[in-house]
Symmetry: C2
Subunit: 145 residues, 2 copies
DNA sequence: ATAGACTGTAACACTATTTGTTACGCTATA
DNA sequence: TATAGCGTAACAAATAGTGTTACAGTCTAT
C-alpha cells in the first residue's frame, strides 16, 4: 500500500532545523534529504502556507521555523502537507446506482473514518520536540549506527 | 492518499455472487466491474488462494463462493488481497543512520500501527451478509438511484 | 547601482505501480 | 471434438511521485 513519503521527510528536516536553531537553505535541506532544492522548495511551500516555516529570499535567505518544536505536532505537518484528509477510503465507482456497491462503500468508509480518527489522535500526541529528544538521547548512547 | 481499489470491487462482486447463489464467469464479473476478464481472473486468483472462492475450468465453469456470506468478513477479503499488512507507514530512508530520521520513523510507525489495528477491528466486524442485507433493504425502499 | 545568493515556479523527463489488453495454452463437458 | 471456460505471460496505457533544468524575482552587501 503505497503512500506519500513527504511526511516522514519533512518531520526529519524540521527536527534538524529546530535542533540547529538557525536558517537553512534549500540546498542544505536537499542534502539532508538526498534530493534537490526544487523538490525541497515545492514541499516546504506547503509548510509555509500552513504557517510552520517561513522563507526569505535574497542573499542570506533560506527557511526557518516560525515556532519552537514543542509547538509543532506530527498532525500539524500532516495537515500542512495534505489538508484535512489523512486516510482516504478506496471506494469503487463502477456502478454508482448499484445498491450493493453503495452498501459496500458505506461500510468501508466508516471503517476508514475510524482508522483516520485513530491516526489523527496519535499524530496530535507527538511533538517534534519529543522526536528531537529521542534522537539526542539515542545519539548520546552511541546508537548512531 | 491513493489506495488500492480492489477491496471495494471484490466485496461488491462477492456480495452479488452470494445473493445470486450460483456460479459466475469472469466475463460476467468483468461486466459488473466495468473491466475485462483477465483483470478479474488475476484478482479472483488471490481470493481463491485464500479459500474464499473456487474456480472451475471448462464448459459450464466459472467462479463460486466456498462458504456463505455470513462467514466472510471484510477482513477476510482484505487479507486475501494484501496479506497481513493493511496500512503501511510511509517512512523515510534518506539517511538510515541519522538518529533524527530513526526517531521520526519510529513515532510514525507506532501511529500507523494503532490505526491499522483500528482498521482491522472494523473490518472484522462487518460480514458480507450484512452488506447484502443493507443493499436489499435500500433497493426495496426504492433508493436505487 | 549591481553582483551574488537566495527563493518561486513552470516545464519536462524518469520511474514505479496499477490497470487494461491481446494472445495463446490448458481443461472440462456437451 | 468443438466449445466455453480458466491460467498466465507479455505488453500497452494511465497515473502519481520524484528528479531536473531553466529562468524570473527578490534581497543584501559592497
Amino acid at each position: 500500500m503505497r503512500q506519500d513519503g513527504r511526511l516522514a521527510r519533512m518531520i526529519h528536516v524540521l527536527v534538524h532545523m529546530g535542533l540547529l536553531g538557525g536558517r537553512e537553505t534549500s540546498e542544505r535541506i536537499a542534502q539532508m534529504l538526498n534530493t534537490n532544492p526544487v523538490v525541497v522548495r515545492r514541499t516546504m511551500a506547503s509548510l509555509r502556507q500552513y504557517g510552520i516555516v517561513k522563507s526569505e529570499g535574497g542573499r542570506g535567505g533560506g527557511w526557518s521555523l516560525t515556532r519552537p518544536l514543542t509547538e509543532i505536532t506530527i498532525l500539524d505537518v500532516q495537515r500542512a502537507l495534505q489538508g484535512e484528509t489523512i486516510l482516504d477510503a478506496p471506494l469503487s465507482n463502477d456502478h454508482p446506482s448499484c445498491p450493493v456497491e453503495r452498501a459496500a462503500n458505506a461500510k468501508l468508509q466508516r471503517a476508514f473514518q475510524s482508522a483516520e480518527q485513530t491516526l489523527e489522535r496519535e499524530f496530535q500526541k507527538v511533538t517534534l520536540a519529543e522526536i528531537g529528544e529521542i534522537a539526542m538521547a539515542s545519539a548520546k548512547a552511541g546508537k548512531t549506527g
